[in-house]
Symmetry: C2
Subunit: 443 residues, 2 copies
């Protein structure tokens, strides 16, 4: 007998598990299908393990900045210990998530989902039916289509490396490339980052990206721009990274050249659900061309950055849609962050957008090196950039390059949302001295 | 000839300098009088130097927590270097502040102010007249009135110690005592903290204070409660701290038993301005009994914690009063923070207040040790406490004990102010994973 469900969720990452749990809590009969690790990319091989590695790196870098300033320190990253620490965290994620879903009364099915028709899918030998379907299958790293591509590794392998090699090469100029470069360099590897054009991290302000590149370079990362890599060759124990007039020997090569949606192996094209490498094509209700098929998080081609908090937001939204709400999705402010050395984060109207309308927007970049928060940590060239809407006399966007950028942008996100004026900021008392108590001097 | 000013400010700390600068910017003729360090307590011998010492301590403690978890670390505090680092910061404060005031066109007068009548004061040989007076003279450490009190040192000396002795004893149970204890202990001293009753940090929730005491004790701080110290004796190179049935040898003794307002030497009693050890008695306009005498910041007996952000707020308020505004002062939410090991911070309705009205308030204490922010740092027993107004279904107060307490309470302060519901918090996307992105799981 074919089991029938109100909703079947494909993919048990942050988006899928959130949607499944909410629908179940609202009384639906729910199944969730996962073919890989329960919990998905973020806690297994994404944000969380990355942050665990970064935590040790951050502690080392902060200690190094204070060396000779009162801290007698000899710190280095002990990669095998750090990996054991990470694995100690991640090993519980998949079984724990699976168990938790089962305990919530959700039917969990392990295997690959294949749609037979618009309401029927097979997982191996099992066939089930669903009134609604939520696609939440995430993204996978894209592999460059070059000669020797079989020698390329991805962030998945980086985050589970047993040993940190002496030299590593990272192909790419996006956030993953800059995060891996910072971690590996701090862990003692000689890092080369190669990007095919001259504008890495193109969503971020040029001035801040340039300063980040300068700082990484000063710390020993070799950054090579405008270099198209065409081939990877394997030597005995190492690799050669080859481009036009370029040939470099390295111990390991990572491709961090974007990610593609895991929606191409589900049989969706057979049942009228349109998709691309960016994910399932969705409307303002996160519905695909087939109205009872929704897509959320990384596997939805929605017009927002593919981030864990966005995945949760979209999951909650789709739950409401399935339960009968019909309003179009409206996204809140979405901050973005690169945990490199230092951190780079932004929110709201970007400097690039501001440059397209200089009558309306003013961009102000402040070097905050002499401020107590940065001075006490001996940070080098921390920058905060504000985008001001001159008509409204309001800060509408911000970017920050510093070891405090993550929290600084979180604060500014709240102040931008609530349209704080300079006077209101000065009347908002924070703990002193903290990142937040500095903000009155920015406005 | 006697020079006449629109406003004379007594005391050039954060409150006084802010008021003087604003009034001058608004076109007033302004003088400011300082008899000690320009810039006042906060940047010279308060928050800022304390935070500089704490920064190295924090880096050491965070590295220690990660030892064996991926960080190969041998860190210790090198006190003379740390002091040099601090002095490098503080040495610029007094001359820099003085210069900046002069450059702004404010008359700066060095010396002790003595009021002759309600509009006239003398500073040494100089006599000036003022239409308005702002008292902003701050607080000084209180010295216990016991035998051998001349052997007691205060936070002023602690923050400028050339060497950290092997053993130190701190008398007191307030925030200064707990901050000095954390720093000294991390710097390698054997620390004894002695408090006369059994409830140190009485403004903070008992559960969190108890946990803080436990953690300090585990890290080697001896905390002795219910012990009244009656005498300090000097031996050859050390001291004896003596109470009933108590006698302890130590290298140095600090009294951190509160602070008293610097308003008793100005001749205020002669001209009808009432004051106590808590400061100038003020009304809801921060006016003293003599209406053109205002008091702000630490030297005003206003019903708020004596903190730098409050000083700035009150200074701005009084500037508006002098320039013609007449509305009563209304204080925003004031968070408070203890930079001990770990940090302890709170804002809004306290657990104590909640216990007095259990029909209305619910107190929820959460151990967040397993959350990604704390897990990745291997923090021990981090606690977050929320006070919920059950009628409004709103979080109205919060306290936190963790190394992230400063920023956590800053965030909660904003969310409490804007009356966020659980649903609104979940729809507020922050950088992930950060302190702020955890908050949705608290609400």
């Amino acid at each position: 007998m074919v089991e029938k469900y109100d909703t079947v969720v494909i993919g048990a990452g942050p988006a899928g598990t959130a949607a499944a749990s909410s629908l179940k809590a609202q009384g639906q009969k729910v199944a969730i299908v996962e073919e890989d690790l329960w919990g998905g990319t973020c806690p297994n091989r994404g944000c969380d393990p990355k942050k665990i590695l970064y935590t040790a790196v951050e502690a080392k870098e902060q200690a190094d900045l204070l060396a000779g300033q009162g801290l007698n320190t000899q710190s280095s990253i002990e990669w095998p210990d750090l990996m054991a620490n990470k694995r100690n965290y991640t090993k519980q994620i998949s079984p724990g998530t699976h168990e938790s879903l089962k305990n919530n009364g959700i039917e969990t099915i392990t295997g690959h989902a294949q749609f037979v028709d618009q309401h029927t899918l097979e997982i191996g030998q099992q066939t089930i039916e669903a009134q609604n379907v939520i696609i939440a299958t995430g993204l996978r790293p894209r592999i460059l289509d070059i000669k020797g591509k079989e020698f390329l590794q991805t962030s998945n392998e980086f985050l589970d490396l047993d040993e940190m090699p002496e030299s590593i090469t990272i192909l790419g100029g996006g956030y993953v490339a800059f995060e891996l470069a910072g971690i590996a360099s701090s862990a003692g590897a000689k890092v080369t980052l190669i990007h095919h054009n001259n504008r890495p991290l193109k969503a971020f302000p040029e001035k801040l990206v340039q300063t980040l590149c300068d700082q990484l370079s000063e710390n020993g990362v070799e950054i090579i721009l405008d270099q198209e890599i065409t081939e990877i060759q394997k030597d005995s124990a190492s690799y050669r990274v080859i481009g036009n007039d370029f040939d470099k020997k390295t111990d390991i090569v990572f491709a961090a050249v974007g990610r593609i949606a895991n929606v191409d192996q589900l049989g969706l094209d057979q049942i009228g659900v349109e998709y691309s490498s960016k994910g399932v094509k969705v409307n303002e209700h996160l519905q695909s061309d087939v109205s009872h098929f929704y897509a959320v998080g990384d596997s939805a081609a929605s017009p927002v950055p593919k981030l864990t908090p966005v995945a949760g937001f979209e999951a909650n939204y789709v739950v409401d849609q399935i339960l009968g709400d019909h309003k179009e999705i409206g996204y809140p402010l979405v901050p973005t962050i690169i945990f490199s050395l230092p951190k780079l984060s932004q929110v709201g109207v970007t400097a690039q957008q501001a440059e397209e309308d200089t009558d309306r927007y003013q961009v102000r970049t402040v070097n905050v090196e002499e401020w107590i928060t940065y001075k006490r940590q001996h940070e080098k060239q921390p920058l905060v950039q504000l985008v001001i809407d001159q008509k409204q006399d309001q800060v509408v966007g911000a970017a920050c390059l510093s070891m405090e950028a993550d929290e600084m942008i979180n604060y500014l996100r709240l102040l931008i949302k609530h349209e704080y004026s300079a006077n209101e900021v000065s009347q908002t008392l924070f703990n002193y001295p903290t990142i937040a108590s500095d903000i009155q001097y920015l406005y």
